[in-house]
Symmetry: C2
Subunit: 204 residues, 2 copies
């Protein structure tokens, strides 16, 4: 098996948007496989004593984050619009993403959800918004919703969230490599890819 | 006047170490002037309801920070050793830095203190450690200490800290430009330098 990184993301996370829109291309250039792993930040934040995003708890940090994302998005030619409610509720999108994964379409669906959430500022807990995302990823909305409501999918999302915490993940996006190395933030994507390459023996 | 950035730093801050050791070279390459501005994070953290560093309040984040700095320092050929007590007390060093600034030696003294704090893990509240830093920056320890104890220097440090908060600064290192743009973190140094250049009319 060649080099792989796991991409840990939460659909309500602004910095995850930045990574989601570029990770497929960046990983392909680096010849690294990506495992897309949605999880929920809510339980992680709760375990740190927070009942909402730190960007709400610490307004100076929240104001800065919006400006920082706006600058970076502009530099990358990405649209950026904060949704009216932040953080949004990423639960439905995360379950649908796991159902999309089972159909081999998690990358496209994930990008569609982030483009809706932070490119257009839409509410990703709204079923009509999610239907558009499923369609744009080439998925059948009804069949994917049925799959997403399976107890196994719900359990898989809880397991992702538990595993994230066990790995020491405290925010999103995060990246982990096969040797257990953790990288936090869109700013560390390139370092994570380089690490995965350096630590994986070349194929013979 | 050509492009300038203000470098806001706290001597107890690990990520400020990374920036302090490279900002002079990076700014020279970008043809940007640097104004060195030590301040105290303690009052900023207190206003957010924290009585210590967030790296202590949130242990997963603290463990990650140490690993992240270790990786980045290694990639840059920088020594890295956490001091026994974190965060250290940067008050004396910050006042001495302002006294060094009056003598045109703030860059060298700042680098010496960070190299002691995070290159060697020494206690920068220890007078013997600070004496070595002053000497290595070519400063007279006694004269600089006399200057640092002047009420005007103490007031200048308080004013820096107040101004940092007024600018929306919530962590260190931070960088600001003449048009009021704020950049947070060693990861944004290059972006801050580029911003300063782009927003300053070329000299005729």
């Amino acid at each position: 098996m060649g080099p792989t990184i796991i991409f840990w993301y939460e659909f309500a996370s602004t910095y995850s948007y930045l990574s989601a829109m570029r990770i497929a291309d960046a990983a392909q250039r680096a010849e690294v496989e990506v495992e897309w792993r949605p999880f929920l930040l809510g339980p992680v934040f709760k375990s740190q004593g927070w009942d909402t995003s730190p960007f709400n708890l610490y307004p100076a940090k929240g104001r800065y984050m919006i400006r920082d994302i706006a600058r970076t998005a502009a530099a990358r030619g990405l649209a950026f619009q904060m949704p009216a409610t932040f953080p949004g509720n990423g639960l439905k999108a995360a379950r649908l993403a796991l159902a999309a994964k089972a159909q081999g379409e998690i990358g496209g669906f994930t990008r569609a959800v982030y483009a809706a959430a932070f490119g257009k500022g839409l509410d990703i807990f709204d079923d009509a918004v999610l239907t558009d995302c499923l369609l744009s990823a080439g998925l059948n909305p009804e069949a994917t919703r049925t799959l997403a409501s399976d107890p196994a999918v719900k359990a898989a999302l809880r397991a992702n969230t538990d595993e994230a915490q066990a790995l020491g993940i405290f925010g999103a996006p995060s990246f982990t490599t096969g040797d257990g190395e953790l990288f936090w933030g869109d700013d560390r994507l390139d370092q994570a890819l380089a690490w995965a390459c350096a630590k994986t023996p070349a194929k013979s």
